[in-house]
Every structure is written in C-alpha cells, then in structure tokens.
C-alpha cells in the first residue's frame, strides 16, 4: 500500500481505507494489552518471552511500529505453525512491548521493566537512543538484544557478545549501492561526493560510515553539512552543499520527508547529480513532496514491489493485521525468524550465550530481504551485524522501481 503506485482511483477507496486504518490502529492498540495475558494455547505450552523496548509514541514512532509489527506478526505465524521446537518440545512465543518515546532514560526504564518484572531473556529495540538505554541493562543481565542501530560503534563488538544489530547500517549498504551507482552512472561520473546529515550522534556516525566508504571506493569528499531537526527549510543547507559541485550527494540518516525536501531544493537550484539516501524508504512521500523534481534518487534497502511469494505473503499479512505495510517493516520482518532458528539450533531458551552463538551462525535464504546472514567478524571480532540482499529502489522522472538486488560486496577485512 505504501508503494508509490496507487493504480486504483484514489477517491474510491480512500475513505474506506482511512476508516480501516483508523479502526485497525485503534483496535490493534486496544488489543495490545491482550497480548500480555497468556493466550489459551500458551497455558498448555511453555512460553518464550520476547520484549520490545521501542518508540511507540513520539516523533520516531514510525520506526518503532515498523519494528514491532515484524515481531507481532512473526510470533503469530510461528505459534500457528506449532511454535519453536526446543529439544523436541514446542514453545510458544509471547511478545511484550513497552514504549520508550525514543529517549535514552525512558528506554532504560522500559528495558528494566522487561528484564526485571517480565523476566524476558530476549529483547529488541529500534534507533540509537533506545539502543543506548537498552544496552546498559541487557548485557549485565545476560539478555540477548537485537536492534536497528547505525552508530555508537563503541557499543558494538566483542565487549557486547549478546548484542546484535540486524539492520544494515549505511556503511554495509554502501557496498551494495555504491557499486550499483558506479554501474549506472559510470565511475568517472562519480568522483566527488558531499554529505548531509542531522546534527546529532546519528548524523555524525553516518558521516563516519560515509568517510570510510568514500575512502574505500577512492571518491573525493567535498562538503559535510549538518541540519538541525528544528530546520524547516533546506534551501540554505543545500545551497551550501552544492556550492562545491560534488558529483553526488549522500544524505543519511535523513527521514523520507527531509530527504524529499533536500532533493527538491537541490533540483530547484539546478543540481543534477544523483542523490542517495540510505534511510528514506518511503518512495510515496518522496514523490509527493518532490514531485517532478524526484529524479536520480537512489534508495538502498527499499523494496517497493514485493515479488517473491514470501514477500507477497508478508505484505498481505501486514495489511490485514495492521492495516498498512511499508518497506521498512518488511526489512525488519526477518529478525524473529532468525531468532527462532537460533533457539532451535541452540536447544535452549534460557542460556542466552548459547543462543547468541547459534544466532551468529544462522543464515536464512527466503525472507523479505532475500538472503540473510550475520557478519562482521574481522572488523568487530564477532558476527553480530546482519547482512542481506540490498534491494535498491531508484526514482527517475517520477517513477519508482526496484532497479537492483545485490548482496553487499563486503571487503575482506569486514
């Protein structure tokens, strides 16, 4: 539904869709506490609890919901199929979610509640702030965490053996989208680059990834600009960026709306080079905002048109269960299946270290994002970073389509 092409006449179904989305959202949220008491099935079977400390309200709620949906849907699917088999005994999965508002202290509190009151052994989270809050609790308490977090690399690796980062950061994505851009535009057309990011730790961390990528591919780095979250107009920041005439612009991690504003401003001021945005997966937004200016836009890890049976099934289920589906939720939908495989492989739901070691070995071949595995041993000492097929969507002349699917060509020392 979130794909750009609404081929059906919009006026016909929109009101109903609006109503349905509204009721589904309200119903879903009202039903959320109902997840808490054990379901009828769970009483006869042992239960494995999975806790989410994710932003469900506040400005970053979009990401929190997308993450939560993957777990709620996945748990239902796994439970229906007979649960998780540990030592020949089926276990049910139970998902508990607490809101963090996307704040560090609040996320710490939510994680404490999950770990201490609900006695959860497996938690997941979304975005840097919630991850920072979560990690202070989970590692000392021997709780396994799976998150989407791009920065804070000092909180990742050998010192955090139970900490997994499932979402590819802009760094890993780069090994897919930069080769693709070089194929598309030719190496000679992409000799210099500029970076635009938010003025916070995410922006700084993404700039670090960008620097390493550009060095790896031998691309000269021009301007680096940070915007404030309070900014409303992107003319000034873009004007400053394109003054150096970079061959292309990377904007990361800029949400879809801001990416679209950057694209619009750049095109209006006559900038012609490609613009890549590794965090803006909403093509519909970009098309709505940037209009005819949306061209030469590169959006890695954005699968706007589900093609395989698995992908189509996920889209259909999410639409039914949550009233909507977006590519981002699709990207996160494989986490729980990976955890399930690890639990079965380790044969335990209590020894989190054993589960972590098993999880690092898990490879899935048919998920929403295609092939999935955990990597990073050579740069972080442990395989804790999720790597998967990168579906790159491009927007050219107002048309968005998946133009490239490739597994990131990671360097040998990764």
């Amino acid at each position: 539904m979130n794909t750009w092409k609404s081929k059906s006449p919009p006026s016909l179904i929109t009101r109903r869709r609006l109503l349905r989305t509204g009721t589904a959202a309200i119903g879903g949220a009202l039903a959320a506490p109902a997840i808490l008491p054990k379901s009828a099935l769970a009483q006869t079977m042992p239960t494995i609890k999975i806790g989410g400390a994710v932003p469900l309200s506040g400005p970053v709620a979009y990401w929190g919901h997308s993450t939560m949906q993957g777990f709620v849907d996945g748990a239902a699917v796994i439970n229906e199929a007979g649960g998780v088999m540990i030592d020949g005994e089926p276990h049910q999965l139970e998902v508990i979610n607490y809101d963090t508002k996307g704040e560090v202290a609040d996320s710490r509190a939510a994680t404490l509640r999950l770990v201490e009151q609900d006695e959860v052994k497996f938690v997941y989270s979304q975005a840097a702030a919630s991850t920072v809050g979560m990690l202070q609790v989970t590692e000392p308490a021997n709780v396994l965490s799976i998150v989407a977090c791009w920065g804070y690399l000092q909180l990742f690796g050998e010192d955090y053996p139970l900490h997994f980062r499932a979402e590819m950061s802009d760094y890993e994505q780069g090994f897919a989208y930069i080769p693709y851009m070089q194929d598309k535009y030719g190496k000679d057309a992409l000799k210099t680059a500029a970076f635009i990011g938010p003025d916070d730790q995410d922006g700084i961390d993404c700039h670090f990834s960008y620097q390493r990528l550009m060095e790896y591919y031998g691309i000269e780095q021009k301007g680096v600009e940070y915007f404030n979250w309070e900014d409303t107009d992107f003319y000034p920041i873009v004007a400053k960026t394109i003054r150096d005439k970079p061959d292309f612009i990377v904007t990361s991690p800029s949400p879809p709306g801001i990416t679209a504003s950057i694209i619009k401003a750049a095109r209006e001021m006559g900038y012609k080079g490609p613009i890549a945005s590794p965090a803006a997966s909403e093509t519909k937004t970009i098309l709505e905002v940037a209009g005819e200016h949306a061209t030469d836009v590169i959006l890695p890890v954005t699968n706007v048109s589900p093609s395989t049976d698995t992908q189509k099934a996920i889209e259909a289920r999410f639409n039914e269960r949550f009233g909507s589906f977006n590519a981002l939720a699709g990207n996160y939908s494989w986490w729980i299946y990976s955890l399930k495989a690890a639990l079965e492989m380790a044969g335990t739901a209590t020894d989190t270290m054993a589960v972590a070691e098993a999880l690092a070995q898990v490879e899935l071949n048919d998920t929403y994002v295609g092939k999935v595995k955990w990597a990073g041993e050579n740069s972080f000492g442990v395989n804790r970073q999720g790597i998967y097929d990168c579906f790159t969507t491009t927007i050219d002349d107002g048309v968005a389509e998946v133009s490239d699917i490739r597994f990131p060509a990671l360097p040998d020392d990764y």
Binding site: A29, S57, A110, Q136
Partner: protein
C-alpha cells in the same frame, strides 16, 4: 490553624515513613525501586521549580541547569576521576554560579517574557553541550558515570545497588524539599510571596525585589544542579537530549497538577504523574495521549490541583457532619 499544622506534619511524617519503608513495601522488586528513584528525582526538580514560582515566575531553563549539574559531576568523574561525593556539590555549585551570572540580565524581563527568555537560556545551555564536542562529548553524550562506593569500616556500600541509591537520592530529595519548605515558611518566603502578589508594592515596602529574585533563582538552580548530578550518577549516561525542553515542561506540569500554593503541591504532582506515566507505558500508541487527557482533566475538574484534595475532603466531611 493549630490542628491544620498538625495535620500537615502528620501527612509529611507519613510520607517520609512510607518512603523510608518503600523497598520493603514493594518486596524489593528492583524495577519498582527504579520507578521510586525516578519519582524522587522528579520531586526534586518540580519542587525547585516551584521555589522560583513562589516569586511569581516560571523558568524553562530548569532542565538546562539540571544539565549543568549533571555534566559537571559527570565530567569530573570521567575526565579527572573525582568521585561523585565531590561531584554532587561541585555540580550544584557550578549550576548556581552560572545561574547567578545569567540571572542578572535575565531578571530585567518579567512575567511571560521571563518565561520565554529562560527558555532561550535553557536551549542555549543544551546546544552548548552538543556544540563543544571535545569538552562535553557532543550528542554522543557521556558514558560510564558510575556512582561511588563507600567504606564505613564495618560495611561497604556500593551505590550501584539500586536500594542504596534509592536511599541516597531520598536523602538529598528530602533535604531539597526541607530547604525549600523552611525558606518558604520563613520571613524570606513571605517576601517571595509579596513579590509574587505585587512586585511594585513589595518594592515600596522595602523588599529589595531584584536581589531577592536573583538569590531565589540562584538557590533554585543550585538545587536543580544537585538533582542533575544525582540523575547523572543514577542513569550513568547523559546526553544533551536528556535536558531538553520537555524535561522542564514535565516539571512544570507536575507543579501545576500538584498545586501552586504549597510545597506539597509539586511533591504530590511529581509522585502521582510519574506513577501515571509508568502505568501508561504498556499502552504504546496511547501513552502520550492518555497523559494529555489526565493533565487536562485534572486542570479542568480539580482547580487548584491535588493539594486542594484534603481541604475538599474536609469540607465535604464537615458539611455531611452537620
């Protein structure tokens, strides 16, 4: 009046006893003790904000000054290795010192303009933490702000233990509330309220309005700085975002919902709203919305805030008794 005083005393003593016994009352549930620590910190922040309010204005720089205390104590520990026992006081002092310097120009503004100017001050403080990356760690924040250990000879207390930290923060919060309560019920407190009621009149009756304002603001910010240092060593991580405008806004909300006229107001407001917020956590989507509903409902349906409840009950009781 006499029996009222006695009732107040009984209420405060009761609250203190409950607070002292709390870990046992919640059966040492570590998570609930975490909530209790959050409550104490919120009480401290709301009460010191109320102290400024007793002069008739509201400061939105409060979270900023809390941040100064937090950052001072945190950096002393992480960069110089000076323990929290000094950090708490130095953090409070630093916050008070900066408040003193800022308050001289700030006090030129009045009423709503003060409110907004203080907000600009708070925002600039927060932005400075982010801007001077080398000193303050930028948006990345400061990690590993560990609490201290104490060796009493016969027993060693590690304040990383939550029960121990609860008593520590309870001690300081009780101290803060006591200081503010004593000031408020003294002659100084009367001067504050006279400024609150009518600045010009107070000036003419011989109150040095400017001086009192500067002193009260400085003291309140010192206490906010102390709260901040306590906050930092409990959370062990701080970033500029920990001290943004919402922190001040929620402190203000605690004051308003609790009540504006006595020190019991902010205490009651902070305790009840922190619990409400915690209860709403599992509602996800609806958490923020429900909180807003509770806020509006209290203001509209309970004018004067929670502090008026005893009076209302008493009136109800007397009326039905006759």
């Amino acid at each position: 009046m006499q029996h009222l005083d006695r009732a107040h005393k009984a209420a405060w003593t009761g609250l203190l006893i409950v607070a002292l016994l709390l870990p046992a009352l919640v059966a040492f549930d570590t998570y609930l003790i975490h909530v209790a620590i959050t409550i104490t910190l919120n009480v401290a922040l709301a009460t010191s904000m109320w102290m400024i309010w007793s002069l008739g204005f509201i400061s939105f720089a409060h979270a900023g000054f809390m941040g100064i205390g937090a950052y001072t104590s945190a950096l002393l520990l992480t960069k110089l290795g000076i323990s929290m026992w000094y950090g708490l006081w130095l953090g409070a002092l630093m916050s008070g010192l900066i408040a003193l310097i800022i308050s001289v120009p700030l006090m030129r503004t009045r009423a709503v303009y003060f409110f907004m100017a203080s907000w600009a001050v708070g925002e600039v403080i927060k932005r400075n933490f982010a801007y001077f990356r080398d000193l303050f760690g930028g948006w990345d924040g400061v990690f590993d702000i560990n609490p201290a250990k104490i060796n009493l000879g016969f027993v060693q207390i590690d304040f990383a233990d939550r029960v121990a930290y609860y008593y520590l923060s309870l001690f300081f919060v009780a101290l803060i509330v006591l200081i503010i309560h004593r000031t408020n019920s003294s002659r100084t407190g009367m001067m504050y309220w006279s400024i609150h009621e009518n600045e010009l009149l107070a000036q003419h009756t011989g109150v040095n309005v400017f001086r009192e304002k500067v002193i009260a603001f400085t003291v309140a910010c010192t206490l906010a700085g102390l709260t901040g240092a306590l906050y930092a060593h409990y959370q062990t991580y701080i970033s500029p975002k920990s001290f943004d405008i919402w922190k001040s806004e929620f402190a203000l909300v605690h004051v308003i919902v609790g009540g504006l006229t006595t020190v019991g107001g902010p205490v009651a407001g902070a305790i009840s709203l922190t619990i409400v917020d915690e209860l709403l956590r599992a509602t996800g989507y609806f958490r923020t919305m429900f909180f807003g509903v509770v806020l509006i409902a209290t203001v509209i349906l309970l004018p004067g805030g929670l502090e008026t409840i005893p009076g209302r009950l008493r009136r109800l009781f007397q009326r039905s008794g006759k």
